[in-house]
């Protein structure tokens, strides 16, 4: 007993002597909601992993805020050939990998070959389809040769970070995913990974041999993994972390009212949510699946339409009955904008954020299409069939679950019975979606920098699970092909407008809203410039 009595104060003293974590000079601590699954750039990474990756690796050029022009990064300059089918990049001569090996144009060629290797299956492969070859002329000169002239040649060439040949050439392509590189990456970027504690921290340290004249000013960056948004809010208010992105909007008022040392920045995001209408009959689709695989052109038109959403006018009525303004104001406190067309980031496309909520027009269309409440039970019907449909969304997404509640009420007002279903995401993606076991889906996508609607709406992708709605329009397919073959920016913008109009008129989706991203940071950090490209853009030049 005496020993225990003596030990207690000792234990207590030891515990109390451990210093409570506080923000340190020269170190920035950033809260991450999820642990990056890997930092191997060859494979599809979450936004969180991509943001960390962007500090470790470099591209040939850095994309500017307008998403069209580029600034020097690994390459100090680039020139087009006279026929505009070749781009010559001149690399900086003093670039070193984190293990002190020199980066040369051979690494650029190696990276291109890896990205285009079919066994790798890089998700940005479409960027490289117009590139015939990449040739290293000398250590600092590399030439990209293109098949066709397009407005995206520079973007296509510089997409994908440059990877170290001296390390990855020793790994079999099939074994890349399971290789150590994903958790011990060697890059050429301003920061190198020095520590990765499972589900705890990722620590980056300044790359002393970073090629840029402006060396990183912050010596260490620590990413702290905090799964719970409430804990994230508490820790940033408690000075345990400096910065956190994607804080739920419900906490923003509390932060701004209770902590004047924190800055809240709202910036454009890439995510948008939509309702996808199943335009085809499930039974007919499943019967014709194999035939479509063999001969899409002949068999796709034979798929029977969905009894409700196969009709364009019904889809229009469904869209008009949704009060998008109510959703963005109620659920996002204004941190989202209604959209009525596919969301594109490219160029100077302006969002049409008008609400387009017209419940009487929706009712009128439904009546014109023969949907009336003939038996007075409050639900529209036609030929003895009630206007009843099931909409699925992924469980665990509170906002989407709340939207479904709003929609039940809104559709109820015009005599439509909507049955909301919240299911486990993997079950949704692996069973409900590919087998078309739904009438409608409430989901979201991340808009790519380069607009390409092929995976979502083109007939060539008809059987792919991401081709959600069974939309088939030869006119759209032609327009989309034309868009992808545009020779210059003016052409591209013109064709893009046509494609967007076509899609918004056909309404395979009802596009709902695009969400703004939110970054909260401690005011002790200066030069913070979050952008659609990354919340930690130019982090190497932050100052404390």
């Amino acid at each position: 007993m005496l020993m225990i009595k003596k030990l207690f104060p000792l234990i207590f003293l030891v515990l109390i002597s451990c210093s409570k974590p506080t923000l340190e000079k020269d170190i920035i601590t950033i809260g991450l909601g999820y642990e990056p699954e890997s930092l191997l750039p060859l494979f599809p990474l979450s936004a969180t992993a991509s943001n960390v990756k962007s500090l470790i690796f470099n591209n040939l050029l850095k994309m500017n805020e307008d998403l069209v022009t580029f600034s020097p990064e690994l390459a100090k300059s680039y020139t087009f050939s006279d026929d505009s089918l070749k781009i010559t990049f001149i690399l900086n001569s003093n670039i070193y990998w984190h293990d002190d090996e020199k980066l040369t144009s051979n690494d650029v060629v190696f990276s291109h070959n890896l990205y285009t290797n079919k066994l790798v299956g890089w998700d940005g492969l479409s960027y490289k389809q117009n590139i015939i070859d990449v040739i290293a002329i000398d250590d600092t000169t590399v030439v990209y040769i293109f098949d066709n002239k397009t407005p995206f040649m520079v973007m296509d060439a510089v997409e994908g970070v440059i990877l170290p040949k001296h390390i990855l050439s020793k790994v079999e392509v099939e074994g890349l995913f399971q290789s150590d590189f994903g958790h011990n990456p060697i890059g050429s970027g301003p920061y190198k990974l020095t520590h990765w504690e499972n589900q705890q921290y990722i620590q980056l340290e300044k790359h002393e041999k970073y090629f840029n004249e402006n060396k990183p000013s912050i010596s260490k960056i620590i990413f702290k993994i905090i799964n719970e948004p409430v804990m994230m809010v508490q820790q940033i208010m408690n000075r345990e972390i400096d910065m956190a992105s994607n804080i739920p909007v419900i906490y923003l008022d509390k932060i701004s009212q209770e902590d004047s040392n924190l800055e809240i920045v709202n910036y454009t995001g890439k995510d948008y949510d939509f309702i996808g209408w199943n335009m085809i009959d499930r039974v007919s689709f499943n019967q014709l699946k194999d035939s479509i695989k063999a001969n899409p052109q002949t068999f796709i038109p034979l798929v029977e339409p969905h009894f409700l959403f196969g009709n364009k006018r019904i889809r229009e009525a469904m869209s008009l009955a949704i009060n998008k303004k109510l959703i963005t104001e109620k659920l996002f406190s204004g941190n989202a904008d209604p959209i009525n067309k596919p969301y594109v980031l490219f160029g100077t496309k302006q969002l049409n954020t008008s609400n387009q909520y017209d419940i009487s027009k929706a009712k009128e269309i439904l009546t014109e299409e023969g949907w009336i409440d003939s038996d007075g039970n409050g639900i529209l019907d036609k030929n003895g069939k009630e206007f009843k449909f099931t909409i699925y969304t992924n469980s665990g997404n509170i906002i989407r679950e709340q939207i479904l509640d709003i929609l039940v009420e809104e559709y109820g007002k015009i005599g439509i019975k909507m049955i909301p279903q919240k299911v486990e995401p993997n079950y949704l993606v692996s069973d409900i979606v590919p087998n078309k076991k739904f009438d409608a889906l409430l989901l979201g996508w991340n808009a790519g920098i380069k607009p390409d609607f092929t995976p979502l709406f083109h007939r060539s992708q008809y059987l792919h699970p991401f081709h959600l709605t069974g939309f088939y329009s030869p006119e759209f397919d032609d327009m989309n092909n034309k868009l992808l073959q545009s020779k210059n920016i003016t052409d591209f913008n013109y064709n893009l407008d046509i494609v967007l109009d076509e899609l918004s008129q056909n309404r395979p989706y009802t596009w709902l809203y695009t969400k703004n991203n939110i970054l909260v940071y401690n005011k002790r950090i200066k030069n913070v410039e979050p952008s659609i490209i990354s919340p930690y853009r130019y982090l190497e030049y932050f100052e404390l």
Partner: protein, 335 residues
């Protein structure tokens, strides 16, 4: 001769446990295989053709070979402690699980220590003063501790000690990496970080211990050898140390074998709230991401660990209780 028989009975017990583990693993395998949907493999991108996606699913994800072949392969790999690679991170499952086990074991050990430190003295006070005001007050406290879920207590601790008083860290297992001059300083940091979560979990255990130990203590205190000890004029301290505690070892061992599964399941919410990289949090993340190799690996190792720990308790019980030892030997002889 008796010694030899005992060793034989222990080996027989271990063989029975092995068969149980085998049966349990088969059931576990069937259960996991019947879950609808496929493993979500992070790196199978949309850039692949559907055929290539299927090929990769076969290589890295759900196997399409006959179920018995899959079971045989799985058993073989389990014996080799090879559960494949996580479909999310590509890391070996073995590595992920082993790194997650240590924090959970440490958290559970500290929680049990808290449970005993709180539960035993309270049980002693209540048992020695049954029906008194002190007994009633302690019982009320323990009922409260038993009724409040550990996560609620955890959240309260976070709010009060971490955010209001700012004296304990709110998350993670230790401070920023790379700042520890020695292993000891890192260890003290881990203890400091586990103080609140282990206390939150320990309070639930304390209520269990209190309830169980109080009943046992009342029995012991009513026994003749205690009365004899008192009659001989032994001090209270001597009675506790020489007579009560040794007689409590067996009940406590039995209790431990009952609550062992709670070490793995009960700590889940606490690990999540305090961002502790334990097996519970790892398994939740794996389940959400449908990382099937990790789910199978985690469940298998937890199951085997629980079975082995319980067997260990059983053997300890036998060592401390000759009566059970005789029962074991007789049971083995009969078979």
């Amino acid at each position: 001769m008796n010694y030899k028989k005992f060793i034989y009975s222990v080996l027989f017990k271990l063989f029975t446990i092995f068969l149980l583990i085998l049966l349990g693993l088969i059931l576990l395998f069937i259960l996991i295989k019947t879950i609808p949907g496929s493993s979500d493999i992070k790196y199978i991108s949309t850039a692949f053709s559907l055929e290539r996606q299927q090929e990769l699913q076969n290589i890295y994800g759900s196997d399409n070979s006959p179920i018995l072949v899959q079971l045989f392969k799985w058993m073989k790999n389990t014996v080799n402690f090879d559960f494949g690679h996580s479909t999310q991170s590509g890391l070996p499952v073995k590595q992920i699980i082993l790194s997650s086990f240590l924090p959970t074991i440490l958290l559970s050990f500290l929680a049990v220590t808290w449970g005993l430190l709180i539960g035993f003295p309270f049980a002693l006070v209540s048992a020695t003063n049954p029906g008194s005001k002190r007994d009633k007050f302690i019982t009320l406290l323990m009922v409260l501790s038993y009724s409040l879920p550990a996560y609620w207590i955890g959240l309260f601790f976070l709010q009060f000690f971490s955010y209001k008083l700012n004296i304990f860290p709110s998350s993670q297992l230790f401070d920023i990496p790379g700042i520890y001059p020695s292993l000891f300083s890192k260890f003290t940091s881990v203890l400091y970080h586990l103080f609140l979560p282990s206390l939150a979990l320990g309070l639930s255990f304390a209520a269990y211990f209190y309830k169980y130990l109080k009943t046992k203590l009342i029995d012991i205190l009513d026994s003749e050898y205690i009365l004899a000890a008192k009659a001989r004029g032994l001090s209270a301290k001597t009675i506790i140390l020489s007579h009560i505690i040794p007689n409590l070892i067996l009940p406590v061992l039995s209790l431990f074998s009952t609550i062992t599964p709670l070490f793995f399941s009960g700590a889940v919410t606490i690990e999540y709230i305090f961002s502790i990289p334990g097996i519970g949090r790892t398994m939740i993340n794996a389940a959400v991401a449908r990382d099937i190799p990790l789910i199978i690996g985690g469940a298998t190792i937890s199951f085997i660990a629980i079975m082995l720990i319980n067997t260990f308790y059983d053997i300890l019980l036998v060592i401390f209780n000759p009566k059970i030892k005789t029962e074991w030997i007789n049971e083995t002889n009969n078979k």
